[in-house]
């Protein structure tokens, strides 16, 4: 092997020695929310952690989850929901839209992180949702950054897309962080869920310019 003489050669050599995580291709997991899918370049990126912040109550976090469940159900993909605050309401969804869902109800945030660790490495789930909304901010702050880092590394080695839902940004160094800020009004509930999802406004607080291209590859 010739010795590198330029920075470009050195970079390609380092890339050969430390190969990138294998799970990039295969397209994203469509959430069924056009604004999110457009922002992420085709849906939740596989092998990556995406954070969705519901900055205001009733700003649509649960609606996004419902849309994701509908979209993955149509594609017959399996989804895991780790519900750290035990807030998921099955009766808000049609029974048929839950048949691909594995709902995990941990009793604490550390337990939820352990569950996420197992599920992300499982390899059978197209999407793993860790819902940390409703977990007190004090508890979230106590969670060591290393645990999120570990989750991110595990996600990179596996085919599933990881979505963390929170009330304030909690995942350090996350590739994508999207924010929902607009609370719904009672009048909005007269529209169908699909119409509401189509009108959902999403703000990209943190985004990785190259991620969309990676997904296409």
């Amino acid at each position: 092997m010739p010795k590198p003489t330029t920075i470009a050669e050195l970079r390609s050599l380092v890339a050969a020695w430390t190969p990138a995580p294998p799970m990039r291709g295969g397209g994203g997991i469509a959430t069924g929310v056009p604004a999110i899918d457009a922002a992420l370049g085709g849906g939740l990126p596989r092998g990556r952690v995406t954070e969705l912040v519901s900055a205001a109550p009733s700003s649509g976090g649960e609606l996004v989850l419902a849309a994701l469940l509908a979209s993955t159900r149509a594609a017959r993909l399996r989804v895991a929901l780790i519900d750290a605050a035990d807030g998921f309401a099955p009766r808000s969804h049609r029974a048929d839209l839950l048949r691909h869902l594995v709902w995990v109800r941990p009793r604490s945030l550390p337990e939820a992180m352990e569950c996420a660790d197992l599920l992300v490495r499982d390899g059978n789930y197209a999407a793993i949702v860790l819902d940390a909304r409703g977990v007190p901010a004090r508890i979230l702050r106590q969670q060591p950054a290393g645990a999120w880092h570990r989750l991110r590394l595990a996600a990179e080695q596996n085919p599933g897309a990881v979505l963390v839902q929170s009330a304030a940004g909690v995942v350090p160094a996350v590739l994508w962080r999207l924010v929902l800020r607009t609370p719904a009004g009672l009048g909005d509930l007269r529209r169908t869920r699909a119409e509401r999802a189509a009108g959902l406004a999403v703000e990209v607080e943190r985004g990785h310019a190259g991620a969309g291209e990676e997904l296409a590859g």
Binding site: M1, P2, K3, A16, W17, T18, P22, A56, P57, S58, G60, G61, E62, L63, L65, R76, L77, D86, G87, F88, A89, P90, R91, S92, R94, A95, D96, L98, R99, H100, L101, V102, W103, V104, P106, R107, E111, E114, C115, D117, L118, R121, D122, G123, N124, R133, G134, G146, A154, Q157, N158, P183, G185, L186, G187, D188, L189, T192, R193, A194
Partner: protein, 482 residues
Amino acid sequence: MKFAALWVPDFSLMAVRRGEPALAGRPVALVAGEGRKAVVREASPEALRVTPGLAVPLAAARCPGLLLRERDPAAEVEMQRLLLAAAFALSPRVESTAQGCCTVDLQGADAARTEAALHRQVLDLRELGVPVRIGAGGTPLLARYAARRADPVLIVRDRGAFLGPLPLAFAGPSPQQAAVLEAWGIRTLGGLTALPKAELGDRMGPEGVALWERANGESPAVLRLAEPSRTFVATWNYEPPVESVEPLLFKLRRFAERVALELRSAGLVADGLSLSLLLEDETDYYRQFGLPEPGADVDSWLRVLQTHLDTVRLKERVAGVRLVATPARPEQRQDGLFDTGLADPNSFWENLARLSALVGDGRVGTPVPLDSHAPDAFRLERPAAAVPAPEVPPVHPPRGGVLRRFRPSLPARVRCGDAGPVALEGAVRGDVRVSLGPRILRGDWWKSGAWAVEIWQVELAGGGLYQLTRNAQGWWIEGVID
């Protein structure tokens, strides 16, 4: 059995032996220090009457034919990585506790299957030249004690019976503590834990309490988690450089064994290999190989490498070697008529069992709303092995919000006007801008557990939609409408 410890006795010596096959079955001692101060650090079981700390000339006199070696840090790193990869095959939660020791968090794992996996792991590692012992117990420390007594696997089911006869040295007393306890006639962990902990603390201070807890096998159940390997690389420098292909192949086999185990533990396979040979004149010989079928089979890798190396003629001797495996996901099969719909059924069902053990029964599964009007009526079912085809969507698409519940519902103080709630107080507070309701739900009126509830939806002036219920006990905030 919550934790397991993988332990290699005489780790440094075993690392040297693993890299030098000629040492197998012969008396070997690892030497520390130089010249007249050199002493034996570790000795193989074949080196009869040679004990650590013995001066080298004395050791050689006691055991004719004794082979002396120095520590090999590179070989130790290689064997520690192998041990870590084996630990990751048991659980993703692994601590690299010390040289030659890894602790594994097995909480939630099926006990019978895990016990079988521990025995299998011992056999696999011994085949790779690692004489591992495995102990398991309720705490990390107990598991490590058990590993030191294992032959080759020991699972501690009765903590008291196991710890009682162990020598005091297991708990690592300081020389002062050891002297005091010896004077008291205490020589075992059982003897120490028979003393009242508080009174021991009065006499020996906090260090005495810590010693008592160690003697009782107590340790925090928190592990400093290690990360599984993300690069699958092995490097070795030969001193002196080698000329023939045999030492190269031997080292490549050792590398391949470790890298393949790391790949398997991460659920990956290799779809290519790259080999670099560093030559004596500081030039490199580099070659990439595509594998006919992606996999983690050491023999097939070696066949590819050997076939190539047999044809290579180099002008210089080989001073170093580097092997890199390119990771890939195992090929997934297309679903067939009798397929389960799971890419990895074993992992799926095993992880579900672990999750159940972790979060409790009845807290993992596929939710199914019950045929009832009662709020929050659902059951959890075992997930289907295959995701069924979706039903035809309803003619009228769903409207309204999606509820996110507070479990249990939060008690609320609600001020009411003529048209319903006008303000909330309590965990959620604010003036109500608009309200919708009441919707009355009743159920089980034909039997003793009859219930009735009034449901309101309110929009607060400061933003946020909430679902309220009122029953005989008062007002409750049931959740956020999202």
